[in-house]
Amino acid sequence: MALPPPDPQFVLRGTSAAVHTLHFSCGGPEPDIPLLFSGSENGYIHVWNLRTHRVDTALDGHGRKSVYCVETMGGKDKLLSQGRDQRICLWDLAEGRTSVTDSVFTEHVGFCRCSLLKVAQGRWLMAMAARSLEEVQILELPSKTSVCTLKPEVGAKLGMPMCLKLWQLNCDSQPVLLAGYEDGSVVLWNVSMGKALSQLICHQEPVMSLDFDAEKAKGISGSSEKVLSIWSLNEQQNLQVYKTHKLVNAGISDITIRPDKKILATAGWDHRIRIFGWKKLKPLAVLDYHTATLHCVSFSDHSIPQERLLAAGSKDQRISVWSIYAQT
């Protein structure tokens, strides 16, 4: 007899706008407070204290334009945020400061979230959608120098890039980019050479979100249709469809795999969070709390496994935080 799904551990209210992006920063040692960063449609980035469940700070750096991506760069003192004002801002939050140290003007008017990858101490690669319709630009941070621009070949008709993931197998290997496009295909790019290694048509509709497990060389993508697509990368760096999973309701906004690679969570347009086992995509739970479409879902990076959390942000202006399968 299966148990009914759990209720959220707690719910964060107070953003007064739809929540578009979430990012945990809980890995620091005691006495650091576990934090959750959230970006909202009214342009504010809220820093939530996960002990008091209240907002510690509210950052206003995007001119009241919606913030749709928030990432930390090596700790909670450095923050990167991307907004609809076509800017990516770098923040310095150490010792209570709330200032923007640097910003990149992307000229991108879409919704494609940027992707960060740490390549060396203090050096990052960032992939972002560029001004031109089909291109992805790779920048090095904090120097903001352009590493390369990834242009699909003429006539490829991929459309806008919708979601990006930079990764490398280990510290010595080449960084690689996985990009999901508007025409439903996922392309694997070699960053240093700037050319595409493989392309796979995963969906009939635009790819809304994707995530990749570098160890198992397997990835998953979700779209506006009713299908989740799981694909794998073989030794020749070719993408192949591994399997597909049919959903009850159409539309996925966000997919994320837990850092321990055991489970993954999807944020759906049908207001529900779905949890699957990553090995065989076995459906594990459907968490039904929100009353409007979900925009983002994120796992925490707690060092103690039992404390791990899952957070989901929705158009109904609430952030639900769950503790699920934390015991494994």
């Binding site: 299966a2 799904p5 399997k243 739970a285 039904d288 399968y325």
Partner: protein, 634 residues
């Protein structure tokens, strides 16, 4: 003929005279029926016989030439046969030329497609004659593109000319098309405009098919004109004329079969190859699944039985529906969609609540525009409107009929009003109410309900059956099912539907002039009134309606648009069927006599075939009703 010796000089003119005289007296078929096959065989390979044949026809005196040429064209088995028999007669003889290029194509229109093929093929087979072909094409196009011809010539003639144009086009070669490309383009543009202006759907379709074909011929590369219309046998037949089949007419069926066989063979191959990768792919994960014996089993799933498809709930109250439909919160499109879909059933289930807000609902529905892409939006809206109208007929009918004559409505909305009135009237007057009235592509219900000769027979049949059933009471088994009856709800409201529509038709508004440009709406209005009249049978107001209708149609008798005239004639039919004959004879005697003489005129002289048929039916109906009245002992 078979005993004419070959190779000797002999005068054939005597034979020509005989031939001509016989043909002119109307015996074409008999003599040419014997002559033509003989000549066909003899001239197949023998040049001398060909020349003899040519001499034969050339020597026919001019006054009999027409009959002879006509006979040959009709009797020849194919264009090449005709070419062998007549030679260059059309070039040498003025009268023959006139007959072939003018009379048979532009002045007559009763010949079959095969005859047209013969004629035009004949013109195309010799270089001397090809100039005639081009001239013929130009003249045909001139007629096709002239707006007065489109308006006033009968539909059959227009079909004939269209066929001739298509066959000409099929014979033209590239350099010839190049030389008259500009002309073709100009005529096509003018012609398509006149045809699309017409109120009769078959003429519009004719115009579209011909324009598409012309465009295909003159634009071999680049985008080609493509209209959207329903393909049916007539259009397919027309399009097939554009492609010339090889001279041996027996063969074309074989290539067709071959091609369709190959296509059929190709199709099964493709799905097979598609299936194979699919079968291969799932096999692998299955094997892997079996290998890894659920090592992931430490994660127990939760109960997911609540996980069902997300359904947006439609509002349950009518007033909520009104709020959603007029709401300024444009973000809630899901709710709007659900409301539109659920509205009709809600209205029918809550008649009392609907009556409170009926006019408001009618107003909203009349102005409702498609916000998102719902399937069948037009039908959903129309059914909701009909539901509102039948629930609260009088105020809503008053509103709708007043809006029909108001400013600032599109033609589409005005015709929408007419359709809704008709559908609601049908529902109200029907003795057995089915929950869902049959809607077969509710685009033009008016035309489907036109009472033609069929319905008058139906009417008679129903009356006969009823009489029969009444005289056989002591039969155990009933011969027909008894219809469940209920009071005729249309009775009390028929007048409200009908009279306001007649009132203002001659008052032009700035954007709407029934008697002027908007004759399409006038035609629809007349047809609507005919249907309302027909449905008003057995109501109290029917006599008054009949009188008003007769006066109304009197003004429109000679309208130039044949669709309007057809509507007027169907009004007369409805009138004769619905108003009891005693009342007609009592109140409308003079008008009836005038109508009768007018109908006789229409039957003989109206260019449109449908109008003539309807006039004839009306006269017959009148006769039958009078006889019936006289037969019944008073």
């Amino acid at each position: 003929v078979s005993f004419i010796p070959g190779g000797l000089d002999c005068s054939i003119s005597f034979v020509s005279h005989v031939l001509g005289k016989v043909c002119v007296h109307g015996r074409q078929k008999e003599i040419l029926g014997v002559l033509v096959p003989h000549l066909t065989d003899l001239t197949k390979s023998d040049c001398i016989w060909q020349r003899i044949c040519w001499r034969l026809v050339e020597c026919v005196p001019d006054r009999w030439m027409e009959a002879v040429v006509l006979g040959f064209v009709q009797g020849a088995a194919g264009a090449d046969v005709l070419s062998r028999l007549l030679g260059n007669l059309v070039v040498k003889n003025k009268k023959a030329q006139f007959v072939v290029t003018q009379k048979m194509l532009l002045l007559q229109y009763g010949h079959t497609t095969a005859v047209l093929q013969n004629l035009l093929g004949y013109l195309s087979l010799d270089s001397l004659r090809r100039t005639l072909l081009l001239r013929v094409l130009r003249e045909l196009l001139e007629t096709w593109s002239s707006s007065s011809a489109v308006k006033h010539s009968p539909a059959e003639q227009q079909l004939y000319i269209s066929k001739a144009i298509l066959i000409c086009l099929s014979h033209l070669k590239e350099p010839e098309i190049e030389s008259c490309r500009q002309e073709l383009l100009t005529s096509m543009m003018e012609g398509v405009k006149c045809h699309l202006d017409s109120s009769l759907p078959q003429l519009r379709r004719l115009g579209m098919v011909v324009a598409e074909s012309i465009s295909l011929k003159i634009n071999t590369e680049g985008p080609v004109l493509k209209f959207e219309y329903e393909e049916d046998d007539a259009t397919r037949e027309l399009k097939s004329l554009l492609v010339q089949s090889p001279p041996l007419c027996v063969v074309p069926s074989l290539p067709d079969d071959d091609r369709s066989e190959k296509a059929g063979a190709a199709l099964p191959l493709v799905p097979e190859s598609n299936e194979k990768p699919h079968i291969a792919a799932p096999v692998m994960p299955d094997e892997e699944l079996d290998a890894e014996l659920d090592s992931d089993d430490d994660l127990t799933p939760y109960d997911m039985s609540e996980d069902k498809e997300l359904k947006i709930k439609a509002p349950v109250y009518i007033r909520d529906c009104i709020e959603v439909l007029t709401g300024s919160r444009s973000e809630d499109v899901d709710k709007w969609e659900a409301t539109v879909k659920a509205l009709e059933s809600l209205v029918r289930k809550n008649p009392a609540a609907t009556r409170e807000v009926s006019v408001e609902l009618a107003k909203i529905l009349l102005h409702l525009e498609e916000k998102t892409c719902i399937e069948g939006f037009v039908e959903l809206r129309q059914r909701a409107q009909v539901a509102v109208l039948t629930t609260d007929p009088i105020p809503v009918a008053k509103y709708l009929t007043s809006q029909f004559y108001s400013l600032n409505y599109s033609l589409h909305q005005r015709m929408d009003i007419l359709d809704v009135l008709v559908l609601a009237a049908q529902e109200l007057s029907c003795p057995k109410f089915h929950g869902k009235t049959k809607h077969s592509g509710a685009q033009k219900p008016c035309i489907q309900l036109l009472p033609g000769s069929d319905s008058s027979k139906d009417w008679r049949r129903i009356v006969d059956e009823r009489i029969k059933s009444k005289t056989r009471r002591f039969d155990v088994g009933q011969s027909h099912v008894e219809l469940a009856s209920r009071p005729n709800q249309f009775n009390s409201v028929a007048g409200h539907f009908f009279f306001p529509l007649i009132q203002h038709f001659d008052r032009p508004l700035t954007t709407f002039d029934l008697l002027g440009e908007d004759h399409l709406v006038l035609g629809r209005l007349v047809h609507t009134l005919a249907i309302l009249m027909y449905l008003a049978v057995n109501t109290v107001a029917v006599t008054a309606m009949g009188k008003a209708l007769l006066e109304f149609v009197w003004a429109l008798r000679f309208h130039t648009d044949s669709y309007v005239r057809q509507g007027v004639l169907s009004c007369i039919s409805s009138l004769l069927l619905s108003v009891p004959m005693e009342r007609i004879l009592a109140d409308m005697t003079e008008e009836l006599l005038e109508t009768q003489s007018w109908l006789g005129d229409v039957m003989e002289k109206d260019p449109d075939g449908d109008c003539r048929r309807l006039a004839l039916q009306n006269l017959l109906l009148m006769e039958n009703l009078k006889k019936k009245l006289e037969a019944v002992p008073s």
